[in-house]
Symmetry: C2
Subunit: 126 residues, 2 copies
DNA sequence: TTTGTTACTGCAACTAAGTTGCGTTATATT
DNA sequence: AATATAACGCAACTTAGTTGCAGTAACAAA
């Protein structure tokens, strides 16, 4: 069940994701907005935005939950699948707009896949 | 720092991984061996076996930590990288012995990657 | 076989991300 | 303005994993 009412929290969170095309962890949002918005509310709104196809989520290298904006998804179709890149130096995570070539696995039916690539980002490389 | 003394716990845990070529989550090991071995000890021995290159670890779809036997690794070189498959029906996880073709990402230096494929395993497919 | 060193173990207490229940507040509809 | 109920804040909870420390056991030396 997604978002029905345009509340202050929804607006603030969407703002965070709009001001920069980068993924944000739930923890980071709580750290930065936690004295304005209750953490339970943050988790619940993120969850609803994901249901609506506005955001998608994935797990970073430590198992933390990250969110980023979707491209062309809606509440009925969530099709924006892609790898993510996490910088081991600065911690930044972003979406990689490439299709992953999955290995051939006999006798198994693939439904999802998640690829997390780790290394140095373009800033930390230079 | 790896394992120095061949203790009962080490033997029991290695046994678990030897009797079946499948990945096992730390949680599962605690559930099944927790009244014989303390969970702290289980976590610590798994950690050391990983240092030694006997086991490798990765995160499953819920962020739980899984372990599986390494092939050709040692304490000095941990090179057995490969994707993992988690069955969404029965929960089984296993190692896929295939090299992953990583997408081309400009201006970034790749150090690791982890690919988790989800779907139905060979048993649950039939 | 006994002794001594210290790696390993068990326990209890802790950490931290995420969840749940419930009473209150605010949005949107009439 | 009155009403319905989605959304919120708070506190308490859940759970995988960690930490500190005192006691135990593996292993080598005597
Ligand atoms: Mn993404
Ligand atoms: Mn594996
Ligand atoms: Zn970086
Ligand atoms: Zn299965």
């Amino acid at each position: 069940m997604g978002i029905i009412r345009k509340t202050k929290t929804v607006e603030i969170l969407l703002n965070e994701f709009n001001k920069n095309e980068v993924a944000i962890s739930a923890k980071k949002l709580i750290d930065s907005l936690g004295n304005t918005i209750n953490k339970t509310t943050i988790y619940r709104v993120l969850d609803k935005l994901e249901d609506d196809g506005v955001l998608h989520s994935f797990l970073g290298k430590d198992g933390l939950k990250w969110y980023a904006k979707c491209n062309g998804c809606s509440s009925s179709k969530h099709t924006d699948m892609h790898p993510h890149f996490q910088c081991l130096s600065c911690g930044k995570v972003d979406c990689i707009s490439t299709n992953v070539v999955l290995p051939n696995i006999p006798n198994r039916q693939i439904e999802f896949s998640q690829l997390l690539i780790q290394g140095k980002c373009e800033v930390c490389c230079a």
